[in-house]
């Protein structure tokens, strides 16, 4: 297998985009290509994710992006894996480069849905569930994660304040990230007083609906010796796994099997121990999701992650910082852009571009990106080079 590096990664400010998804996708792509020290003509394949592109009545975004970049002849494909779409696209790029089929790939994720009202956005998101057997019976993503939260509370005694501490932490981190959707820290009081979206999940347990775009350039370093920009990172592992799509087809609601499986595969592939990981970007679409991620991937014992987060272990400056970017929770969650936005945070942390949220001396990072309620999951491990 060939080595695979991320040579450049860029995102726009998450939140509300004035421009369309196609424009944002082209812009962040060019930024990432230029950061990589390359030109669009070096790209051998474009993997693009735009989960809810139908909202903009635009599918087949690959050729549109490649045309905008002056490389219409380059092959492209759309990769859809719900909220884990662009990390799935990154995995496809990794496989193509590791296998020697191409030398460089552009991976882009973009979403624009801020023009939708809450009910419409909730409805489009619900297409990521098992629609016939969950959404048709009332499911929304907040409700599905709420059932996981209730199961976790029943089994382990997890408390609202513990979930709240994750919201407070991620908002505090996002306030240090100029690209984050949410720019203001919140207090525990604000969290506790926010209305229930789906009990027991409050408004501040939930990520916002965000627009945004993120792109990464992935290369075979052997083919670009002396050409790359200043900031590459090695992809030491790229692993994916799945779980039964509907929650009612899983025996335990306090765990997401695909998270455990993907993390085990990734750690084995990278040949590293959990203790070597300096920080994590995990899928916190809801606060309970961050708890499940940390427990499923084995960074905390079952039933302990919420408490340990409450005690500050996952804060910046804590033993294991989690979601220094602000996470989906506060950086924002433009569905298909999220997986690559996690990579942007890794690149910024590794290369002294993360300002006040810098984790000093970080050389190894893990990203974890879940599709829907864990029907799909990607885990990537990165190291400084």
């Amino acid at each position: 297998m060939e080595d695979v590096w991320v040579a450049g990664a860029a995102m726009n400010r998450f939140g509300k985009m004035k421009e369309s998804g196609r424009e944002a996708a082209a812009r962040v792509s060019l930024m990432a290509i230029e950061m990589a020290g390359l030109s669009p003509r070096d790209i051998g394949y474009t993997f693009i994710s735009n989960t809810l592109g139908i909202v903009e009545r635009q599918a087949h975004l690959g050729p549109i992006t490649n045309t905008a970049l002056g490389i219409p002849e380059v092959p492209s494909m759309t990769v859809e894996s719900a909220c884990s779409s662009s990390s799935a696209a990154l995995h496809e790029a990794y496989v193509h480069i590791a296998g020697g089929f191409i030398d460089a790939a552009l991976v882009v994720g973009v979403e624009k849905l801020s023009n939708l009202d809450t009910v419409s956005a909730t409805s489009y998101f619900a297409m990521g569930t098992d629609y016939a057997f969950e959404s048709k019976n009332g499911a929304t993503f907040p409700s599905l994660y709420a059932t996981m939260a209730v199961a976790h509370m029943e089994k382990y005694g997890t408390k609202a304040e513990e979930l709240g501490s994750i919201a407070v932490k991620n908002h505090a981190n996002a306030a240090l990230n100029p690209n984050a959707h949410m720019q203001k820290p919140i207090t525990m009081e604000t969290y506790l007083q926010s209305p229930f979206v789906s009990w027991p999940l409050r408004l501040y347990d939930c990520c916002p609906f965000s627009d945004g775009a993120a792109a990464a350039v992935v290369v075979n370093p052997r083919k670009f010796k002396g050409m790359l920009g200043a900031d590459p990172a090695a992809i030491k592992a790229s692993a994916r796994a799945g779980s039964a799509a509907a929650l009612h087809d899983r025996s335990d609601l306090t765990t997401i099997p695909s998270s455990r499986l993907a993390a085990e595969k990734a750690l084995k592939q990278a040949k590293i121990e959990r203790s070597q990981v300096d920080f994590l970007e995990v899928h916190d679409c809801f606060t309970i999701a961050e708890v499940l991620a940390l427990e499923d991937m084995g960074f905390f014992p079952r039933g302990k992650a919420a408490r340990r987060s409450f005690e500050g272990e996952t804060s910046l400056g804590g033993k294991l910082p989690v979601n220094p970017s602000g996470g989906l929770k506060a950086k924002g969650h433009p569905v298909a852009a999220t997986g690559i936005a996690q990579v942007v945070e890794v690149m910024e942390q590794f290369n002294g571009r993360s300002g006040k949220r810098e984790i000093k001396g970080a050389t190894t990072a893990l990203t974890h990106n879940v599709g829907a309620t864990g029907g799909s999951c990607s885990v990537h491990i990165f190291q400084r080079v």
């Binding site: 057997f133 048709k136 009332g138 409700s143 209730v150 009990w199 999940l201 009612h248 087809d249």
Partner: protein, 143 residues
């Protein structure tokens, strides 16, 4: 279709076009017209109402078409205040995952449940055929 799936056929339960086990149209017909909850059971013990051609737990091919139990208990729940468009006139309502007496699990909703104090994990509930959409779950009234 040759693989036994139902593809995009929406024939309201007519059986002439089908090869293999029942599809989603038959499931919906059974709920709405026959008052039955139909699904599949595997030799490994797994039961589901989800449309499957092999067992999602053991991969087994010996699935039997069964009528599921309609009584069970709440495994987990939430109270939904922000619905999708399908339920835009129904919120707030209870959203529940129920384990039926035969071990199968279903997702359903409880109209009229407005606050979390009204239901809890372990509550006895049942599926009631209803003119309303989706699987309507009701509390069992103690005799």
């Amino acid at each position: 279709m040759a693989d036994g799936t139902d593809g995009d056929r929406h024939d309201k339960g007519e059986k002439n076009a089908r090869a293999g086990p029942h599809g989603i149209a038959e499931y919906e017909h059974a709920i709405n017209e026959e008052g039955r909850l139909i699904g599949f059971s595997c030799q490994c013990g797994f039961k589901t109402l989800t449309h499957v051609l092999r067992c999602p737990v053991c991969g087994g091919s010996g699935l039997k078409e069964i009528t599921l139990a309609t009584r069970g208990k709440i495994i987990s729940f939430s109270v939904a205040n922000v619905p999708s468009d399908l339920f835009s006139k129904d919120a707030p309502f209870g959203y529940v995952i129920v384990e039926m007496d035969d071990g199968s699990r279903v997702s359903g909703w409880m109209p009229g449940v407005k606050s979390p104090g009204e239901i809890k994990v372990g509550d006895q509930v049942c599926w009631k055929p209803s003119y309303r959409h989706g699987l309507v779950i009701e509390k069992e009234v103690q005799q």
